[in-house]
Symmetry: C2
């Protein structure tokens, strides 16, 4: 395990005690307290040293988010401002030194095979732009204070991935075996000795998702760095980030879901109050419709009565394209249609929205609400759940401002 420059590293400590649940513990105790109190910025860990420190919030060595603000309004997120969330410490950086030598096993197909990145590059390349969002983005807005990193809005970005479509690989290997219901990706993290193999990073999603999935070696046109899963990452567009397996070493079509802890007893929509997350609760897979405002933000001091201020933000809806975004300046009592101003980079990408307003002096609560092409509307309230996942509440993401 890579030595990360934090002490104590709660994940590492928990892992070494052998508790399966440890893989989701990333920012507890002193970290959270320090964050809430606005303590001095923690340094970036070595594997994410290329990040733009001024734009980021370092929760822990494996959990780093982008501050809410203008940088979040671009049609793409720059890689040095993209959040980092690792479920285990990353493998050695050696694996990105010769990225083409990395191999991934393809199982559950007619002709199972190990393929190197070099070979994958000959099988037809595509790019897909999509929102990468941590399952727990917005957890910090749950009053129930679930365990886990208290992300605000910044564990999300819109990214162009480039690689080979999984459907090309499947076709080349003779098709999927009968009866396979899941697409199961396994990460290349190295588990410390004595740790249960159930702590491995392995996730299953419905097999049909393979039609959209990519085995990617580029992020925004450059080789994927270790912090984002290089040399090869399984990309599952429209699903939360945990399903897009980093350092992917196996892609298997399977009859059952993985028995990993991260599949069975984490990332489940278990009601608050239960003792633990349960395999029988819904898995955290597709992202619901969600939008938020990045400018202006609470605390803005440059808002003057009668002057135009442009409300800006981003909106997406998992696997579905955005149809419209509405903005409220009165906490959701009335809504106005915002303009979609940016490029349409495909149904998995976010859309930028804008609404210019002129406000009299006073206090306002700004909110945004997206509707997708299938008629799904961003919900007013979060779905309460023990893990603090999938917070897409427009009310939680509302912004209180004062106009002088």
């Amino acid at each position: 395990m890579t030595d990360l420059p934090f002490a104590p590293n709660p994940m590492r400590r928990a892992l070494l005690t052998g508790t399966g649940a440890a893989v989701t513990i990333a920012a507890v105790g002193p970290w959270r307290t320090a964050f809430a109190q606005g303590a001095a910025a923690r340094p970036l860990p070595a594997f994410a040293a290329f990040k733009d420190a001024g734009t980021m919030i370092v929760h822990s060595a494996n959990t780093i988010e982008m501050r809410r603000g203008p940088a979040g309004n671009g049609s793409l997120t720059t890689v040095n401002q993209l959040y980092v969330r690792n479920n285990l410490a990353p493998p050695s950086a050696d694996i990105v030194a010769k990225p083409d030598d990395w191999t991934v096993k393809i199982e559950g197909v007619r002709r199972p095979k190990s393929l190197s990145v070099r070979e994958l590059k000959t099988m037809g390349t595509e790019s897909v732009t999509m929102v990468l969002q941590c399952s727990g983005n917005g957890r910090g807005m749950f009053p129930s204070k679930p365990s886990g990193t208290p992300w605000q809005t910044g564990a999300a970005g819109c990214i162009m991935w480039t690689g080979v479509p999984v459907r090309h690989v499947v076709a080349a290997l003779g098709g999927i075996n009968p009866g396979m219901k899941f697409l199961t990706g396994t990460g290349g993290e190295v588990l410390p000795a004595g740790i249960s193999p159930k702590s491995r990073v392995e996730r299953s999603v419905p097999a049909a998702v393979y039609e959209d999935a990519l085995l990617a070696w580029e992020i925004n046109g450059q080789p994927i760095p270790l912090a984002h899963g290089g040399p090869l990452r399984l990309i599952v567009p429209g699903f939360t980030g945990v399903n897009s397996i980093k350092y992917v070493k196996q892609v298997a079509f399977t009859a059952a879901e993985s028995d990993s802890s991260i599949q069975q007893t984490d990332y489940r929509m278990t009601p608050t109050g239960e003792a633990s997350q349960r395999p029988t609760d819904p898995s955290v897979w597709q992202m619901p419709p969600k939008s938020w405002i990045n400018t202006p933000l609470a605390g803005a001091t440059d808002l003057r009565a009668g002057e135009e201020v442009v409300v800006r933000g981003v909106a997406f809806a998992g696997v579905n394209a955005v149809k419209q975004v509405d903005v409220s300046i009165d906490g959701g009592q009335t809504w106005q249609r915002a303009a979609l101003v940016g490029p349409d980079l495909g149904r998995f990408a976010w859309r930028q929205f804008e609404l210019p307003v002129r406000l009299a002096a006073g206090k306002y609560v700004l909110a945004s609400r997206v509707t997708d092409v299938r008629g799904n509307v961003q919900t007013e309230n979060r779905v309460e759940n023990k893990g603090g996942y999938l917070n897409s509440s427009w009310r939680d993401h509302a912004v209180s401002i004062s106009v002088a």
Copy 2:
């Protein structure tokens, strides 16, 4: 004029003496000598402070290139590694603080109008990925040592621009006036008092180019920084960088080419030996087919007999899509077809190519040669010209390696 942290600034000095030709003088005397001798790196100027210093070569305050190497092999170039070449010092950074307030005058159409970026954003947004390359990229390989920055390969990048197609703007304003043969863009640089207005940054390209052109406010998905022409840049895909006007304040359809020096007596393919560049010589407009190898490079010490080494580089052909790339290991005596390995991001983007080879101990000269879909082939030799423009010679770009 912004004060740049170099002394002496040859461009500024020349401008203040009032010579029109000064606008192309950017790296002369001590700069070139220092570069050739591999002197200590010069600091990045303030407006390009966000650049990745370790990847860049700072020729002068307004001329910064990316080192030849692996970073050049991505399907997109990251903005903090993209070259900078300004013909004049940039305007005040104030102009990017409120980008939507920037206005551009549209002339030579039925209903001329000034439009703000805010208005442009409502007129339909598209993204185009294209090679941005300085007209003088490769000038450093001319034995004739033309005046100007001795760029190697790094005054080029592949970039995704986002904005409104000029054809949308033209349609909204009633169409182009009859008889207009050129699309003329004017930059928003501020000329010091006493300088001839002919020193302004203004370029004309054939009017038909408007079908491909964009008025862009995003570069790789983020607002365009000052160093790259924000808040608004005229993008002319397939043409050299000088034609993509930064801080664009006017786009005019005109009957004649601009009378600016940069149009009339610079960026002309004037034969070597003439006293000055002549308006009657061809203008530097479209980019010819060009490719180069980024890895391995001369001086590589890790090449071992019998081990596989992958020759990698990029290829493009101006307005035409790439059809194929051939690679030679014997200085152009024989050629092998390389694989196009990356995504096809459109005809204006570059393609990545790869050829794995195993070499016995010895010396080799690696070269690459692109052919476009119209059958145009990258030329063996440069077109000699006084200004050192458009060097696309595959021989000049060849790489000499030793295998141990």
